[in-house]
């Protein structure tokens, strides 16, 4: 029997560990269909929900935001663009080349109760974040009760 048992979710960095475990649990969640796109395509995508709607986050470092294209059609959201290499000057020799470059395009299917016309996107620190709010009619509504006479 252990004399002391530390809770693993203590301290400021524990947030990271619990986040990692949570993400792991939803890895390629079969209950959520992306539609046409498949796992393994660039950029890797995580889809989250909060009380306001859905958040799509794509890890896509080193892109020129101007070369990024976002479009919506029906329930699908398409992210496309190009990752260019910054070609070094002449007589440069490569020791390692792990960062892939090229064009990409992904389409994902979003849940029905969202308002895609109100989608907003930002690109920061190599993360593309698209926020799609819930449709007005799917937000919770209070129903007033009339007292009977």
């Amino acid at each position: 029997m252990a004399l002391l048992r530390f809770r693993s979710d203590m301290g400021p960095t524990s947030g990271l560990l619990s986040l990692q475990e949570e993400l792991e649990r939803f890895l390629r969640n079969p209950n959520f269909s992306l539609g046409l796109s498949a796992y393994g395509e660039f950029p890797p995508i995580n889809v989250f929900a909060d009380s306001e709607g859905v958040l799509v986050i794509a890890e896509s470092p080193g892109l020129d935001p101007k070369s990024l294209n976002l479009s919506v059609q029906g329930r699908s959201l398409t992210i496309s663009g190009e990752r260019k290499s910054d070609e070094p000057k002449d007589n440069a020799g490569y020791h390692r080349r792990e960062r892939a470059v090229g064009r990409f395009s992904r389409s994902i299917q979003l849940p029905e109760d969202l308002d895609l016309s109100k989608a907003q996107a930002k690109y920061e620190a190599g993360l593309l974040t698209v926020r799609v709010p819930k449709a007005e009619e799917s937000k919770p509504r209070q129903i007033s009760i009339q007292a009977g006479r």
Partner: protein
Amino acid sequence: MTAQELAAREKQPVQGQEKTRAGRYFLPDVDIYETNEALHLRADMPGVKDQDVEVTLENGILTIEGKVLIDTYQGLSPLYTEYNVGNYFRQFELNEALDESKISAKMKDGVLELELPKGEAAKPRRIEVKTG
């Protein structure tokens, strides 16, 4: 014709090294190229802001470390995930004689750009061949 030229590489966890802090570390993908004047390094660290990167050169070992901002994910519940979130860590042994005082680093759109100028001794020199 397909517009998909890029495949996503699964993040590789850092092996063989254990940090005192909990949580997984991943290896950032890097490009390293060399010119006559310097060694250049690019490392993909999406989710890391400028102030959260640390680069050190000690005893010929170059260490890069990036801390990911987890606030981004606060209050969100995942529906579907393809990548995990974690800090980045990678080390390289440098054989070159570099001018440590002139190393410059900057962070742009989640990519660390490092320039390590060579010391005089490491620059290529043309040796004159005399005809006798």
